[in-house]
Amino acid sequence: MLGKASSSHAAGGLCGSGALSHVYIQHPPLRCSVPGARGLYYDDGNKLVLSPTVDQVYAWKTAPYSPYTNPSVDSIGEGPVLSIHYSLDGKVIGIQRSNHEIQFVNRETGDMFMQRCGSESESILGFFWTDCPSCDVVFIKTSGLELYAYEPALRALRMVETKRLNISWYIYTHESRLLLLASGMQCRTFTGFQFSFGGLIRLPRFEMAMTKAEANKKPVLDAEDVHIITVYGRIYCLQVDRVAMLLHLYRFYRDAVVPQGYLPIYSSKIAVSVIDNVLLIHQVDAKVIIVYDIFSDCQAPISAPLPLLLRGFPRINASSSQSTGKDTTHIIANELSDLEGTTYGDGWMFLVPDFVCDTVHCNLWRIHLDLEAIAASSSEVPSVLEFLQRRKLEPDKVKQLCLALTRTLILERRPVPVVSRALDVLVASFSHSLKIGSNVQRRSIEGDQSNSGNQRAGGSRAIVNESISRDEHGKSVYGPTRGLDNESQKSKSVPVDNESINRTTGSAMNRPSTCSDSEDSSNQDVTTQISGAGVGQLSSHSQTLAIGLDAFNSSVSGQRESRVVSPVISPDEMYASVFSLVEEEMTGDPAYLIAIIVEYFRSAASEKLKVNPNLNVMIIQLLARSERFEEVDLFVVNKIVEPSKEVALQLIESGRQNYLTRKLGMDMLRLLRLHHDYVLLLVQDGYFLEGLTFMFTDSKICVNTVRPSLFLEAAFTSNNSQHLAAVLRFFADFIPGFKNTSDHNTYCRILSEMNPSLAA
């Protein structure tokens, strides 16, 4: 059970069994094929895969994901379908029928109405539902935005607002609530809006970088080349520069869009997935994936480029031996070759955040990270642990993996500083989780509410995930707009308000703001969002928080049922699953293990954590086993091991070889005021008189707890009549009624036999 956690690789796979890979898709996929389907659509607001037929639409839920989900069917009437979205409360279906009309179908009543575009010169590029308080549906037209409220009673949309601007194309993800509108000759000028709970935020206009291929030929940016991603609650935009073969990274703040550098790409076509806040860049042409963890400034990939693996596909030779017969084998073989042909083919559509849809075979695959493989591929265990501790999707698995990695690290006797760093990572992670406390759960609840779209708080000022005032990296966050933008000024100047909001609302969600040194910047983002929103809109805060945290929500809600909600490792688990197992396994000189445990003590002390009491006992055992009694002394005197009865008894036990150690144990018992044990040991060691003195001076505690017969027996076995006499006399004097007990009589007789003259 020790050593590296055995990875649960299913044998066989798309790219041949045993192929090295960090990312995989699991067979079987969700099959979304229906007869007469007219293509597949994805509704990212509700995470539905939609397949319209002539007059119906089939909808498969992908959250929570299961390959065996049955579709729901709705009648939508006949007509072409350009795009289709369910309203966020699931009551209405919006279908774009042409460049000029969008039809709305009430699922309950079957009521339908058509919304038409004003003039012929403009056309509808698309639409989406929003939970922004001011409107329900947003149309994106070539001439601008139109914001509508849905009025079921009127069977119509009511125009709320229009924003005039030329739009070439747009991208929107519900996850980020961010709409990016491309305009200009090269389509590289962007206007951004965020439709958050707090309201509509307009982002400053910005331009993306485009390298010119030749002097007079300007490349045009395509919608395919821009991706919005949400990681750690922050919103980024990725943009492919096909000429320079770079992937530019921009981070969105409330009042600025800040370039964050670039990543190299090895394919002119790029697809992007985000799993558990890990960014996957699919190099489509090369059919490999590069994995990044955009957490800190470091933008080095987590792993080398590796292909996507298909897992769980029935093995051909295995199935042939079974009764399914050759036909099945044949079909599977065909399917496999089909799959291999279509991987990263034109039919592959990547969906936000972590799905890929094979439109040719109508299969929906969920993309998974193989954390074991990632962990195994790096020898830098401390940083691997750091990476793993940030994963929230499969906390139990991550936890087991972290434990196994740590054990292996120690068993392999890697250098102490390396192990020390690894322990630091785990301890810091646990300590951090303690500080943010029950946050995770609450957050997921709030997130659900927000997803349902039922609650519309009245906050007028929505937010983009921004953390200008507190960005821990401090890197070029203060954009050029700093001095000009009123809002950013405000957000910078109200960190104190922020605290007071926390208190007045009593919202524990805001607690992370108090631990400003926290590493998890998503929490910091949360903090500053609130500070930006200002006082007086309290009701909106809890709502706004959920924005950009959908990634969290989806991951958290998936695991809320299971008991392990976090991969962090508590001191108790550290003892039970690392040290005690390692101690059993390790042979030879325990000096190394002692050094490691001391490092753990150091780590825990620096985070003000208590170690498991058994660990204190263990280190004493180890030191005594290697006869390092001098160090036992230092550990006890300096209270490196915290005094406890267990430790004291271990010291006494180890003290069989070294009486100083035994003394330490006895002193500890005395200091812990475990008088009974202390006196017993004194008597055992033949210190009757000291024991009696001790009882005498502290008689209230002791006389009633220590039985006289213990002393008498011990004094008798010492074969010293003086001792026995003294003990007898003591009890006769200090315990009322002792003279009438059988003990007294027995030992008086014994005494007189031992020494007749004394008895007389």
Binding site: Y592, V637, N638, F694
Partner: protein
């Protein structure tokens, strides 16, 4: 009840007062024995046992040369003005042959242990390498047995700590020159003129050998050690061992294991780290050692820096262990540890008090010896309070291997007061070791 509550009557202290006139000559026998023991154990630590040396050279020449320089260098410590002054009653609140520890908080202690553990793990593959960590003149951590710790600690405080290094070049230098300048080179010329040389070379008069130098290691010589650029102390004129003329790094013998080890000392500000590397584990001598030093610095210098900072922050100054109203000596004889009022505070005591305590300690020493002969298995408890001639309370209390000596000059006249004062001291500074509850 085994000396409990025994009180010497005051006429005994009157006797002490009578001796005042010739008091300079009052020595406690045990204190003097300890001096002899100390010089002997130090000698053995560096040169090995006398028996072994005699076996090497039956004529005794080597032993004599070694002893000569060693004792000369050792006595150097006792030179005040121009005469040797052995420990007298002035030193009754000191205990030779014990270690003084720095009291550190839990986190600092962990930091130190972490440093020690890391150093050990880096040191040598499979052989244990021992270490001592000192801050100022106080011990912070040790991995050696109590006896070895005492020896090395004594040596370190004498010659290695920053304080020892600076005093050897300042106030002590003129003394050294005036007394033993003629032998300060550290080598013995085999000439008829020099006394020890004569002893050694008496049978050898051939002119060819007249210039031959026999090197005698002189570990106790002052100015032996200087701080090198890399932070390691350099032993400048450590005479090469006869057996190993290449080695420049001093070696010493551990009592517990009988193993010879290299003595490497790293110093950062007030932190001294003594590393003892088994000679057997080092294959290529000096070269390997310097490589190891390099490796060590690369890996732990940051830790050393942090530990030093932390200890300096927690350091209460040289009067850190002064307890107001008390002049005390606390000895843990099992662990060879002692703590006492700072010397500056002890000097404020009157001569009468010091003499009374010396006398009391003499008595206690005798009592201890007697008890040990009676029943070597068990530590005995003992409590003595004396009202000295000058109305000071002079107190001794022994409990389970721990000893507390105390002088209370400005104390109330009742015995109850005195014993109360002990009780308070015990519960506050000794974890209640001398308390009865």
């Amino acid at each position: 009840m085994d000396g409990h509550g025994a009180i010497l009557t005051s006429h005994q202290s009157d006797k002490v007062a009578e001796k005042n006139k010739k008091s300079e000559g009052i020595w406690r026998v045990d204190a003097l024995t300890k001096v002899l023991k100390e010089v002997h154990s130090l000698f053995v630590m560096f040169h090995g046992s006398l028996r072994a040396l005699i076996e090497k050279d039956a004529s005794g020449g080597i032993v004599r040369v070694h002893l000569y320089y060693f004792i000369i260098d050792y006595l150097n410590n006792f030179i005040v003005g121009n005469k040797v002054q052995l420990p007298s009653f002035h030193d009754c609140l000191k205990e030779r042959g014990t270690v003084q520890m720095l009291t550190v908080g839990r986190e600092a202690a962990i930091a130190v242990q972490s440093l020690v553990g890391t150093m050990e793990s880096l040191c040598v593959g499979n052989t244990a390498c021992d270490s001592l960590v000192l801050f100022q003149d106080l011990l912070v951590s040790t991995t050696l047995s109590p006896d070895d710790t005492v020896n090395l600690f004594t040596y370190a405080v004498m010659r290695l700590t920053p304080h020892a290094l600076s005093s050897s070049t300042n106030s002590w230098s003129y003394l050294r020159k005036s007394t033993v300048s003629q032998v300060s080179t550290g080598s013995v010329l085999l000439t008829a003129g020099s006394a020890p040389g004569e002893i050694y070379a008496s049978g050898d008069t051939s002119p060819d050998n007249r210039s031959l130098r026999y090197h005698v290691p002189r570990p106790l010589r002052r100015e032996n050690w200087t701080k090198g650029k890399d932070g390691f102390l350099v032993c400048e004129s450590w005479a090469a061992e006869i057996a190993d003329p290449v080695s420049k790094t001093p070696t010493l013998l551990l009592q517990k294991t009988g193993e010879r080890v290299y003595l490497c000392v790293y110093q950062h500000k007030n932190l001294s780290i003594i590393l003892l590397i088994p000679v057997n584990s080092v294959i290529s001598g000096e070269q390997w050692l310097s490589m190891m030093k390099q490796q060590l610095l690369e890996n732990v210098s940051l830790k050393i820096l942090k530990v030093e900072e932390r200890l300096t922050r927690g350091w209460g100054g040289e009067n850190a262990y002064h307890v107001k109203g008390y002049r005390y000596l606390l000895v843990d004889s099992d662990r060879s540890i002692s703590r006492a009022s700072p010397p500056g505070k002890v000097t404020t005591l009157s001569k009468d008090s010091l003499l009374a305590l010396t006398k009391l300690r003499e008595e206690v020493d005798i009592e201890k010896k007697r008890k040990k002969e009676d029943d070597p298995q068990h530590d005995k408890d003992l409590e003595v309070c004396i009202r000295a001639g000058n109305n000071a309370w002079v107190i001794a209390r022994l409990t389970r291997g721990k000893e507390l000596y105390m002088v209370l000059e400005k104390a109330n006249e009742t015995l109850l007061y005195a014993s109360d004062a002990v009780e308070k001291f015990s519960s506050r500074y000794c974890d209640g070791a001398f308390s009865l509850d």
